[in-house]
Symmetry: C2
Subunit: 342 residues, 2 copies
């Protein structure tokens, strides 16, 4: 069957209306609200065709039609218009993330919050983390007689603290010497522990062997850590009638709690950087996500890549959300550049 331009117009009307109201759309509604110049009977026939093509479906016999995943897919790929973000929202986004933020994790939290607030959906942001972001240097700072902080800086300038305890802690100068020796080691061997080399290094700081060993352990631990995941605006989901049933709401909350699922969902993107991707309902092949859509993109922090996703009902405002997300990512990259002094 052919997808005539009239069928497309009807499909578009159905989707537009359904996104706005959340109610199944009937033929009479379309003939009255959208000036297609054809009667409801004709629209009925066309709708029957659209249903055969799998683009729309009926919740029950005597209800109007709602778009199917396939229908939404066609809509976002070919029909969806461009939404321009109003000046004030644009400014709001920019202000919220550029005001005085010195730490990247705060920045990501603010980003998540801003997006959630503007879109009224739930937002998920993953920490920027490269698959192999090498450790570049460490620095040891004494805290008290039994503890040191190891400050680590990676290739892509991610800074992190690890507190290490040991019975015996060297003084300022020895700590500096240790830092230097370990940095030297790192530049030679990377952060995989080379038994032999590490052994000789340990020997040279024998009285502080316990601490040295802990440093090595911490260094090799760092590689294995999975990236943090922030969520925001989860409660927004409760505003949508499709989740007014407490069981459905629970399901959504359960998903948003499973950081590893979210991480994988966002990470797995075949397309290049900077592009916006959309996963509609069942397309994720996860039954728990069949009523949810995800609009996502990535941002970069040095060599590290992080992901931003917006999760809402399949009936979400794709056009607006995509635009807001794009705008946000641009601002975010600007701010990151400013912070990291690109």
């Amino acid at each position: 069957m052919d997808l005539s331009s009239r069928k497309i117009k009807i499909l578009e009307a159905i989707i537009t209306d359904y996104i706005k109201t959340g109610d199944p759309v009937g033929s009479r509604t379309i003939s009255k609200k959208y000036p297609l110049g054809i009667s409801s009977a004709t629209i009925r026939n066309e709708m029957s065709d659209l249903e055969d093509m799998g683009l729309i479906c009926q919740p029950h016999t005597s209800a109007g039609r709602i778009p199917s995943d396939k229908g939404y897919r066609l809509y976002v790929d070919r029909l969806m218009g461009h939404y321009s973000v109003p000046e004030e929202e644009s400014i709001f986004l920019r202000d919220l993330i550029s005001s005085n933020i010195s730490r990247i994790d705060y920045l990501m939290e603010q980003t998540a919050k801003a997006l959630a607030r503007l879109t009224n959906y739930a937002t998920v942001v993953t920490e920027a983390k490269a698959e192999n972001d090498r450790l570049r240097k460490i620095s040891l700072v004494g805290v008290d007689e039994h503890s040191v902080v190891m400050v680590s800086v990676t290739e892509s300038k991610k800074v992190e603290n690890t507190i290490l305890r040991a019975a015996k802690i060297p003084d300022f100068d020895v700590l500096n010497a240790m830092s230097a020796a370990i940095n030297n080691y790192i530049s030679l061997y990377g952060c995989e522990i080379n038994e032999e080399a590490a052994g000789s290094l340990l020997k040279s700081f024998r009285p502080y062997g316990e601490l040295a060993a802990k440093i090595f352990a911490a260094i090799s631990d760092m590689e294995n850590k999975s990236s943090d995941v922030y969520t925001s605006g989860v409660n927004n989901i409760l505003e949508y009638p499709e989740f007014s049933d407490i069981e459905k709401a629970k399901n959504v909350f359960r998903i948003l709690e499973q950081k590893d699922i979210l991480r994988n969902l966002l990470k797995d993107n075949s397309c290049g950087s900077g592009t916006v991707q959309i996963i509609i309902g069942g397309e994720s092949n996860l039954s728990q996500l069949k009523d949810l859509s995800i609009i996502k993109t990535n941002y970069s922090l040095g060599n590290n890549i992080g992901f931003i996703g917006i999760i809402g009902p399949t009936r979400m405002n794709y056009s607006q959300t995509v635009s807001v997300l794009k705008e946000m990512t641009e601002s975010l990259n600007e701010v990151i550049n400013k912070i990291t002094g690109g």
Copy 2:
């Protein structure tokens, strides 16, 4: 009116049953399930008295009774039995928080998670922060040509990173000299910025004035930061029938989003440290909390005090929750001592 021992037994039966089932308790239920040796008619008379005393109330004329805030209060203060935490739960708690945790913030997160999982209520933990936890020392670590990390250590050994950017960054030795000078300054003047002294210090590092100024700004910022608040298990709340109405659930979520309300709620404790406090429903004087109870205590990290609260419906299992919370706080303090090498 007098509170005879029989009245107390009836009140206890009502509360026990209501906590377990969530259904209003009738006189017949009590006479059958609890061996008080009196008829339902007698119990009815006593219940009428208990209602006059404000300890129980009726949702509507032909329903059973439910405890009032005042009833719960009497229960937790005078009747509630001791619950002993099962060995395996005790071990679960200990394991979850003691496995390999080097950073205090992870520890607090784990604590919140463990409590939420074991109690099936929502958990709130505030970061340990003394009212006036003085900065003790800083250390500057170069990241790249335009940025340094300032590692700060407070009197109570709280370690924090702040990234600072400046056009010009000194080399390793000068950074060390700056750290030393600023530490000296701190030990003399504390972290309130003394215009005069700071001015002369800025002069001595003139070529790096921008950086020095940022350091001072960061130092004085640190004082004003309010403590972080973690929540966990918020979704548990959805399991309780009293929140199966989506509007009520929304209300709870809204509360748990407002970190400042939570912070104040937990902070304001007149009693000493280590004690467990209970706020029942309307006792908080916050209308949004009238259907919720909070069981809370504090933990200490050096001189810093943090708070742990468990939030559930007023019909929560006070006895179990108090015990689990006590147990957890003990384990937590042990782990903290181990980490901070008390």
